[in-house]
């Protein structure tokens, strides 16, 4: 990735030596716009920015390839074009969230804009501190809103639209959590035969967690070595780090089947295990009707811990999100149950162990396997957008300059080129473009996923969590003791559920909003386990027979 960004940067530096418009047109290819349309759109930025020339804006985003491209290439281009100086900082996702929270709590003007996940939407619309973009576009931001912005073209727009119907954030990059596997290994006749002999079914895309575990055990404990290299049947991470929280909250509980049926997150109990009455969070513990300490949650956490320790490379237990993100690209991992597509760029580098001599991937992505409690009608996985977020307290001039930059890095003039570098698509027009379709064979199924109607069943945290930046910390601090063996999975989840209930109670007292939390009275877990829906009672058999499907059939899930 560094090579690509370095090359892009070199080209950009050479280009910036010439006239800014020419430099931009040279860098921002291909585009879904004609050259004349692209030039007109870029010219609009130059004109709109004239009253703001000399302004400096400071923004922050998490460190994934898309944002490095913005910081290293697009920010200097924008500054050259408009005379607005952009300081585009890159930091850890949790640091981004902490700083946003700090700015809201102290009023310190840390940044003029954040690229922050839509996971925080439930907080934004309840706290009334984030600039409502749909209002801004019609009001004080009208003169600096791109006429060709085309909001309907953004595939992630529902994720940044709150239950009140207002737009709070603008998508900048979008990523999903999918199953990833080494198709070339799965196709080897000797491995297929050995797997069939041992497990009685085909080595193909796992449809349930039993099959995933069988395949993990097969590669880690039976095959062990391929072409002279130690290989593993599973990859994950478990370090004591804030990113441990979203490892569990993004995927493991939801795909285990903790929540109720219904999109986007389960109704009335969501995939964080929070029961929501109308729009009011009413509790996370089973005692209050939630499911965070339910049998399905314990099943999810226990599988996560067992598989991490038994099937993943030993060093994975100490890793964080960013450290683990491109490990499978090193070529010794057979499959990964929850793989973030934000790292796709690292998996497509020529010469990589997971790319063949023709530049085609040796891997594929497919829908993630489902846990024992999962039922048809639940969400099929996690996806989210990193989205531009501005605060009401930021001075108008700074808001306007930051909004211009936000639109620049997401404009049609820019987004196709950015998507091809960072592989985090945000616009339907990019996904339907000829260059994207031409790139699709090199991207292992990523483009097919985003173009499929099923992609809507992959959803973010949603609007139920009333204070994501505060509650996200509880996940990793309360659950790591189970990973380290100090507590059982049940004990750790009971602690987490109680901590959530206390937090929801405090948020309910603080937030002045019709959707602020209002806790159910404690009625005991048994009462709620006897009601229909989540929390689901314990299954007699949490390990049904393994089931796999050939890749092409597995993709029918995306029809």
């Amino acid at each position: 990735m560094r090579f690509l960004i370095g090359l892009a940067l070199y080209c950009s530096a050479v280009a910036l030596a010439v006239e800014p418009m020419e430099a931009a047109l040279s860098e921002l290819q291909p585009s879904t716009l004609s050259r004349a349309e692209q030039q007109a759109e870029l010219q609009w930025f130059i004109e709109a920015a004239k009253p703001l020339r000399g302004t400096q804006v400071r923004v922050i985003a998490e460190h994934i390839p898309t944002h490095w491209y913005e910081a290293n290439v697009l920010a200097p281009l924008f500054s050259q074009l408009t005379g607005i100086r952009v300081i585009h900082e890159i930091s850890g996702e949790d640091d981004v969230v902490n700083k946003l929270r700090t700015q809201q709590q102290t009023g310190l003007p840390l940044y003029d804009a954040y690229i922050s996940d839509s996971d925080l939407l439930g907080q934004h619309f309840r706290d009334d501190q984030v600039l409502i973009l749909s209002d801004f576009i019609d009001g004080e931001g009208a003169a600096v809103t791109l006429p060709s912005l085309d909001l309907a073209d953004f595939i992630g727009l529902p994720f940044v639209t709150a239950p009140d119907g207002e737009l709070y954030q603008l998508p900048d990059q979008q990523f999903a959590n999918l199953y990833w596997y080494r198709q070339d290994w799965f196709e080897r006749p000797e491995l297929r035969q050995a797997f069939r002999q041992r497990y009685g079914y085909e080595l193909d895309v796992p449809q349930n967690w039993s099959a995933y575990e069988d395949i993990a055990a097969f590669f880690s404990e039976q095959v062990k070595e391929i072409d002279g290299q130690r290989v593993y049947g599973h990859m994950d991470y478990g370090g004591f780090d804030p990113s441990l929280g979203w490892r569990l909250s993004d995927a493991w509980l939801g795909m285990a089947g903790v929540a109720d049926l219904g999109l986007p997150n389960g109704l009335p109990v969501d995939d964080w295990g929070i029961r929501v009455e109308a729009c009011q969070p009413a509790g996370a513990s089973m005692a209050r009707g939630g499911a965070l300490d339910s049998p399905a949650a314990v099943y999810a956490l226990q599988r996560y811990i067992d598989w991490l320790k038994r099937y993943a490379p030993p060093e994975a237990q100490q890793m964080s999100f960013n450290q683990a993100g491109n490990v499978a690209a090193q070529g010794h991992i057979a499959q990964q149950i929850f793989w973030y597509t934000a790292f796709t760029a690292d998996y497509t580098q020529p010469g990589s162990a997971v790319v063949d001599e023709q530049g085609l991937p040796r891997w594929r992505v497919a829908p993630s396997p489902r846990g024992a409690y999962w039922r048809e009608g639940m969400k099929s996985g996690y996806q989210d957008v990193g989205a531009w977020t501005l605060l009401k307290s930021t001075p108008l001039k700074q808001q306007q300059a930051a909004w211009l930059y936000a639109q620049f890095v997401t404009a049609k003039s820019v987004s196709l080129r950015k998507t091809l570098v960072g592989l985090t698509p945000i616009r339907r027009s990019d996904l339907d473009s000829a260059p994207m379709l031409a790139a699709a064979p090199k991207l292992g199924g990523l483009v097919e996923f985003y173009r499929s109607p099923a992609a809507r069943r992959w959803t973010p945290t949603g609007a139920n969590v009333p204070d994501y930046s505060g509650m996200a910390n509880l996940w990793w601090r309360q659950l790591h003791p189970a990973v380290s063996g100090e507590l059982s999975a049940t004990q750790a989840l009971q602690n987490l559920a109680r901590a959530f209930d206390r937090y929801l109670l405090a948020a309910g007292q603080r937030q002045r909003h019709a959707c602020a939390p209002r806790l159910n009275p404690e009625q005991g877990a048994l009462f709620w386990l006897q009601q229909p829906g989540a929390p689901w009672p314990a299954l007699g058999n949490e390990r049904p027979a393994g089931q796999t499907l050939p890749y092409t059939e597995a993709l029918h899930a995306w029809d």
């Binding site: 490095w68 900082e89 640091d95 700090t102 780090d241 990793w476």
Partner: protein, 238 residues
Amino acid sequence: MPGIKSLFGLVLLLCGLPLQAEVRLYAWERPPRVQLSESGEARGLVPELVAELFRRAGASYQLSFLPLQRAMRQVQREPGSCVLLVERRQERDPYYSWIGPLLISRLGLYARAGDDLQLASLEQARGLSILSHQGSGAGEYLSSVGLQVINSNKEALNLSMLQRGRARLWATSATVVSSFNGREPPREVLPFLTLMEEIACHPQFDPQLQQRLQAALHQLYAEDWVAALYARHGLTQE
């Protein structure tokens, strides 16, 4: 038995009070915001802010000075102690209990005044040596993105090395640069990171006291007490 229970509780409470009363704070010198006077007292904006913070939280403390790296190691071993201050980064989060921010550091890459180096991004700093203060978040950050960092124990040494051409760049903040009264101060080439500087306490630091201190700090910001303190010192909050 409720009477006995209450008495027992009171005894426990009274026994507990002195334990909570004294927080050990380890500061490190960084004039003008934290410095040790000739009489051995802590002076500057940060000690004043800390004094008001603890007063409002109803807690007492004992402040002494240690080099930053030593302070960070000491606090991880010593319950009831904190470092004043540590640049907060995600990688450091699990190892301390945090109260802050007390300061905001705007970090940049600085070059010698006479050096005409221009940088539009961190990527362009690849291959250049960058000076940094040992234990600072700046050096750790730049190393983590693959840049070449040279650490030293004192910022004064970094300045000297920069001026003698031992490295093209120095990763530091405008506050540190302005604390050295040279005739030709280094020039900011590229701002790259904002860090929050916070009180970093032992990971098992009393959570109730931590919450009281954090709430008191938010109140100081809400009342513009912090802004007034900066103004008294002739400083800005960035």
